[in-house]
Symmetry: C2
Subunit: 147 residues, 2 copies
């Protein structure tokens, strides 16, 4: 797919990413480094917690979502540069889940002060293989106008 | 520090984490796995981009923030379980940055339907060694009442 500039985006456009299969090893490796809590590290201990079984860190789900967006989700010219956003995790991500991200353009906003750029607002829903949302995120991303 | 229950939290309380020093190797390792873009992977290529030098993925800053919160930020009984939140990255995180998270309790909300639990709303600002905010995040976290 060709690289996309601000002029290429329109409200309502959708982009579907490739998929990523999660396993217990990935969940534990991320957790050991960034979110060392029993429900992300140990199946037996996780059974006794709120999650009733091993679950990925929400920040791991967010990182995988970014990976899918960068590799296959939305080819923005100059890269995917987020200014921020909001996200929720409606349900846990589990070992064996196959994740896929669907993104929809909610707004396209040229900059008032910087004529060469603008922002897009993107809602990206990360779903598991059953089609259930595991993350619902809305971000604002920097996009360049055509040179 | 003792583990904290819903009754232990009050609006305005603050918690200061330990610190984490970032380096180029960590930035590139995270990016190779989760955010493989030139400005997160290669100093020379990064010079020619929006970031004018190597910068950490925002999701890496978020993951380090979570690590600091889990290890030293706020000892919630039963663990730190986020329902979601919003975040911005006011400026890039760079190699050599020493990150620290200051959290403030914005709201304490007992559940109406589930008497054993509630939610806290927490603003966590991640700063570099100059005191500059590199991430500003507000999350809602599940907290249990005293058994």
């Amino acid at each position: 797919m060709a690289e996309l500039y601000l002029e290429d985006f329109a409200v309502g456009q959708r982009f579907l990413s490739a998929t990523h299969q999660l396993d217990a090893g990935q969940i534990k490796a991320f957790a050991a480094q960034f979110d060392p809590q029993p429900f992300h590290l140990d199946e037996a201990l996780a059974e006794k917690t709120f999650f009733h079984g091993l679950a990925a860190s929400g920040w791991h789900t967010a990182a995988i979502t970014m990976s899918l967006l960068v590799r296959s989700g939305m080819p923005i010219a100059g890269g995917l540069i987020g200014a921020g956003g909001e996200l929720t995790w409606p349900r846990p991500t589990r070992p064996g889940d196959v994740l896929q991200v669907e993104s929809e353009i909610l707004a396209v906003t040229p900059s008032r002060s910087k004529p060469e750029r603008g922002m897009i607002t993107v809602r990206s829903i990360t779903r598991n293989q059953k089609g259930e949302a595991v993350q619902d995120m809305t971000t604002r991303m920097l996009v360049w106008k055509k040179p």
